[in-house]
Amino acid sequence: MSGEVDLLYSEVEEELRASVRALLARKASAEAVLGRCESAEPYDPALWRALAADLGLAGLAVPEADGGAGAGWREVAVVMEELGRSAAPVPYLGGAVLGTAALLAAGGGGLLPDVAGGRRVAVLAVPLTSGPGAALPATVAADGAGVLRGRVTSVADALVADVLLVPARDADGVAGLYAVAAGDVEIVRRTSLDLTRPVAHVLLDGAHGQLVAAGELAEAAVRRALLVGAGMLASEQLGIAEWCLATTVAYVRERRQFGRAVGSFQALKHRLADLWLEVVGARAAARYAAATLAADDPDAEVAVAVAQAYCGALAVRAAEECIQLHGGIGMTWEHPAHLYLKRAKADQLALGTPGHHRAELGRLVGVHM
């Protein structure tokens, strides 16, 4: 299992982190993120261009032959950590992770160069709550000519997709993964708990889809995308937890009550020590998931289930502690803590709840009822 798996960050990964963090510090400050998520355009296109095209992050996991950076899911995980840390409103999860993972597993369908270059965003059209191992959704029907009818609810990042990768079944029940131009479908924005990654329903009423993969290959591509997505999400959750812990520590060192920094009170110190302990654990778990996904290690399923079961709950707990230990100020709209709470809570439902992943794990490691 982990005997040979590198759980550290390489120098290259640390450099990648530094450049992503620097960009986000410039372009995705808390005020900027808060302002944008209240605007009519909840995603930041300039930020996305800078991340996806200029830094080349959209194609990190795509081979160089397909126009990507030829890195892998370990590096993508580092980006997810940083995006979690800034709650930046960009379609990275839906596009560069779920969409790209599906395309990679499905053969690409000619979309990879544009996707990797950040010129088009191809989003996997599945409900954000789909866990790995879930059956391919059967809410969209395809006819023999690739005309699609149906709906996919609660799709993350659909609002800014150029292409939707839609799983569908034909009249014989054979699965297919279809690429559909966003202009050919109706995308209904939902008022979302997570202000920085709103979900939308995708309605298909005769849209034409280009078949990317059919049959078992399509099913496998969606499964793989969900597994990769869940694994990468653990790193985002780690990033959220790290921001919450660091922000809280900084606050309680400064905030004075009763003539002392409140961070000198032992009850708070112990709670923050426990939280740190869990962040340390989350880092190890998320790294292991990323490393096994990157290496196509057979332990990846266990690794992802462990990471999700652990990190999903931790990010919520960290955000909740962040608000509690900020006191009243943490309850205000102006303070960014709520952005992280909302993202963390939505992430807990995304790609399988912790309970879903524990159940999955019980099956994988033979701890059955």
Partner: protein, 392 residues
């Protein structure tokens, strides 16, 4: 004062002021004047100097007769905090001026206590009141003020002497919210709503006749206010599956397709906790009724916050895709907050405040540890220094 006397007075009030044909305000004023507003208050101030327990009787009989109530949730701060303080520390003149319109709801009250730099450590407050002739001039900033935009009066604590230790230099006032120096700004919360306000006080003039209690004694006066706040929170009876547990149990029963073994175990655990909290509240109520008040009020508030947070978090998980949505982010200024109102996402976010507002859970644990268990206080360096010398 016996129960029968009280019953008789209720009958007389109803006979003389038929609720069906009396103006709401006129009825409420008549009820106050009949001593049936709060029977444990003195005669002449809305009461009969009767045991508090008789109030239940009055409320039940008047409700049964279709009498209007004073919409207690709208004027909770007046009823729960200002009134007991005015009763205990107010002059006769102040009591007669303030209590009747307070109780009838003609005048809404708010509370100007917390400040950006003085939350849990209220005694560190920096709002200054400076003597000026027969009155005071007040400058400072208050925060977490609900009802500030509808209030006619505020209870206010301000620093009148910065040269003495922080608890000693505070004075307690009644502040006129219509003073031109009072500016109220809504404070938006993580739910999108603005239940609370920030209040900026600039050269606000308060006549000395609106001072409650002696100069420099405001800390002691404020204790009455705050103790009544905690009692008010802890004292409500609840039916089984009342509150947040009922909401979540209903969702569970209505949606078999959402159930998982993980959530089932957690829900059962919370069901037990909620029922135990309910029984604890019931036992506290019985203790109060039999004249043995216990320290369990703090326990109730802590349990309530924990349960509301756990259950509302569980509900969002249970809802799956619906849990990803929110009903409405637009900024509103609700007059009344219903913790279980609106949708799951709102409940989840709003519940985060339950362990902060009205005394954080951390402060309540300190209080339990020190006052109930008798554990020693933390070493403190801020109690004896003059306020102006404290590090900030």
């Amino acid at each position: 004062m016996e129960q029968t006397d009280v019953r008789e007075r209720v009958a007389r009030l109803l006979a003389e002021h038929d609720p069906a044909r009396t103006d709401r305000l006129a009825f409420l004023r008549a009820r106050f004047d009949a001593g049936l507003a709060w029977v444990h208050f003195p005669v002449g101030l809305g009461g009969l100097a009767a045991p508090r327990a008789h109030q239940v009787l009055v409320d039940e009989e008047l409700a049964a007769a279709g009498a209007p109530d004073n919409d207690p949730r709208r004027i909770g701060i007046g009823l729960g905090m200002a009134a007991p303080t005015v009763l205990r520390y107010g002059t006769e003149e102040q009591q007669h001026r303030f209590l009747r319109p307070l109780w009838t709801g003609e005048e809404v009250w708010c509370q100007l206590f917390s400040e950006p730099g003085a939350g849990s450590d209220l005694a560190a407050l920096a709002t200054r009141a400076v003597r000026d002739g027969d009155g005071w001039v007040v400058n400072g900033q208050k925060v977490w003020t609900s009802s500030a935009h509808t209030a006619r009066w505020a209870i206010l604590v301000a620093r009148t002497d910065p040269d003495v230790p922080k608890h000693a230099g505070i004075t307690y006032f009644v502040c006129d919210m219509t003073d031109p120096g009072v500016e109220v700004r809504p404070l938006r919360q993580i739910t999108g709503e603005a239940e609370f306000n920030e209040v900026f006080l600039t050269d606000v003039r308060i006549p000395d006749t609106h001072r409650l209690g002696p100069v420099g004694d405001g800390w002691r006066v404020a204790q009455t206010t705050l103790n009544n706040e905690r009692v008010a929170i802890g004292g409500q009876a609840m039916p089984r599956e009342g509150g947040m547990i009922g909401v979540v149990a209903r969702t569970w029963r209505d949606h078999p397709e959402l159930r998982t073994p993980d959530l089932h175990q957690r829900l059962l655990g919370s069901w037990v906790d909620a029922e135990v909290a309910r029984l604890t509240g019931e036992r506290l109520r019985q203790q109060l009724a039999s004249g043995q008040p216990g320290p369990e009020g703090a326990a109730m508030k802590l349990s309530f916050a924990r349960l509301a947070q756990e259950l509302s978090g569980l509900e969002v998980e249970l809802l799956g895709e619906d849990g990803l949505e929110y009903d409405d982010w637009s900024m509103r200024r609700p007059e009344i907050v219903d913790f279980t109102g609106r949708e799951a996402g709102y409940r989840y976010l709003r519940a985060k405040g339950n362990s902060i507002e009205g005394g954080t859970s951390e402060i309540l644990r300190n209080i339990i540890a020190e006052r109930v268990l008798g554990l020693p206080a933390e070493p403190r360096g801020d109690k004896d220094l003059p306020w102006k010398e404290l590090p900030r």
